[in-house]
Amino acid sequence: MKVLIHSSFERTRRRRAIWDRAMVYVLSLCAIGVLFILFNILTHLFIQGITSLNPEFFTNLPKPVGEKGGGMANAIAGTFTLLGLAVCLGVPIGLGAGIYLSEYADLKFAHAVRFMSDVMNGIPSIVYGIFAYTVCVLPMKSFSALSGGFALGIMMIPMITRTSEQFVRMVPVQLREAGLALGVPKWRVIVDIVVPAALGGIMTGIMVTLARVAGETAPLLFTAFGNRYWQHSLAQPIAALPLQVFTYAISPFDDWHRQAWAGAIVLILMVFMINGWAQFYVVRHSRWLSGK
């Protein structure tokens, strides 16, 4: 009897130990699988795209089907134009809301706005495209750079609100108290002391948001619409890099496919570079805030 209990205990123990060991491998396999996918995507991107990536790609307009060469100069410029327009809309509102939430809002209101911002972040980007279509494109009776910038700008608002609130809140309370003790009104303390102190962080938030918005295609499909030439005013359709990659990718022409890969490299480098730059900023900013 004694032996029986002992051996069954021994069996369970061994089974538990094996199970424990096996899970280490299973779990690390999950992580490796994810890395493999990333690696696979990046290598394909560079191998397929690098051959079409030449100076011409950055300076020329797209060529018609059948003609070799051509580039995406207008699309690259278009993406920057759209981002610029988006910043004009998203940054003031997001920053203002972030500062208010950090400095003035009572708990309930702040919670409500934060919650709404997070919910807004989760709304599919194509819905913003439809919204921009109904309020911009229909009244203007034309696809336009303005409506594309409007769609991207709205998408930026919730993210910038959350990040700038976070960084404004991180400014040490002593800085504010020092200002207030000198008899400076609270709003001057905010404008002249708190915001400048948080500026590095705020910039990080803006850049992370830009990196996210730069690759958005869905909200531009029926707002910016795309354009094979240079546009001459903001009320005209405008080309954008992600849109061009999309159009070329689903086209039946090999030449265009190669251009799509090249466009994708430029797009991904842009996104990674802005992200990396933002990381650099946030590290420097937190060092600076903690006084090291």
Partner: protein, 308 residues
């Protein structure tokens, strides 16, 4: 003194416009979409949601095939992504040495930063041929008795779209559930060790059950992403209005029909039917996100930091 007080109040009032405008914006998007889809709402009523014909020429619109496509692809994507994502998150939070964990987390963030149009490009030229030549023939051969793996093999279709969706949502599942797992107080795990559990038992029985709500939140959040994901899906789902159990079949989702047909909608009713689809996406994603936030906040105790 008095003058300073007024200036403070004025500044506060001006600044208050911005957060209030966020609330107004969300309401505004809802009303604008509802107003623009009014013709379709009135004309089709509830039949819009259970009608299976989508005929722009006859102006007869039923969204069921798209609702079906969105549900099917999101569900299959979750089935694929949840075990892998949570597994990787556990590895990063509990097993990996801190340096390795940090490095892999950065790579996962990179994966999350890739624009969906690039996933779509990779999907068209790498994933779809692979599905057509290897995965789908294999599934058809060994699991072909199931209705899910029957029918002609094009490569594009529900299965390819589900896989790309899974790849897109895995980084979200990893980063949110990693945070949730790290938020579990280590006292609980240590008590479990003291009772003689193995490492895996402590993680599975204690950490995961403590963080259950938060991990569920991560999954729901990922579901929201999957429902709204547009470009990558549009590029490889095959654009076919159909309801079928076959995962090999080309199909459509709510978001991809918008991406494909919105710009060419030529009649008012067509446009308003498409906007109604947008309204459905808007409402569904709001419900899903509210649910997810509550679940995640219940574990991490508040909204947390956006940038670390």
């Amino acid at each position: 003194m008095n003058r300073q007080d007024t200036s403070d109040i004025v500044f506060r009032r001006i600044l208050a416009v911005f957060p209030i405008s966020i609330l107004i914006l969300v309401a505004g998007i809802f009303f604008q979409l509802a107003y623009s889809s009014l013709p379709s709402l009135k004309h089709f009523g509830l039949a819009f949601f259970y009608n299976t014909t989508w005929d722009p020429v006859a102006e007869h619109f039923g969204a069921l095939p798209f609702i079906f496509g969105t549900c099917l692809t999101s569900l299959v994507a979750l089935l694929l992504a949840v075990p892998i994502g949570i597994g990787a998150a556990i590895y990063l939070a509990e097993y990996a040495p801190p340096k390795v964990s940090k490095f892999i987390s950065i790579l996962v963030d990179l994966l999350a930063a890739i624009p969906s149009v690039i996933y779509g490009l990779w999907g068209i030229f790498v994933l779809v041929p692979y599905m057509r030549n290897y995965v789908q023939p294999f599934l058809g051969k060994y699991l072909g008795f199931l209705p899910f793996f029957q029918g002609p093999n094009y490569g594009v279709g529900f299965l390819a779209a589900s896989i790309i969706l899974a790849i897109i949502i895995i980084p979200f599942i990893i980063s949110v559930s990693r945070e949730v797992i790290l938020a579990v107080p280590s006292v609980y795990k240590e008590s479990a060790y003291a009772l003689g559990t193995t490492r895996w038992e402590a993680i599975f029985d204690i950490v995961l059950s403590y963080g259950r709500a938060g991990i569920l939140g991560a999954v729901v959040l990922a579901l929201g992403r999957a429902i709204g994901e547009t470009m990558a899906v549009t590029m490889i789902i095959g654009n076919n209005v159909v309801i079928t159990p076959s995962l090999f079949s080309p199909g459509y989702t709510l978001a991809s029909v918008l991406a494909n047909e919105f710009a060419e909608a030529d009649s008012n009713m067509y446009l308003s039917a498409l906007i109604e689809i947008g309204l459905v996406l808007f409402l569904v994603s709001i419900v899903v996100n509210i649910l997810a936030r509550f679940l995640i906040w219940s574990v991490t105790k508040g909204p947390g930091q956006v940038i670390k």
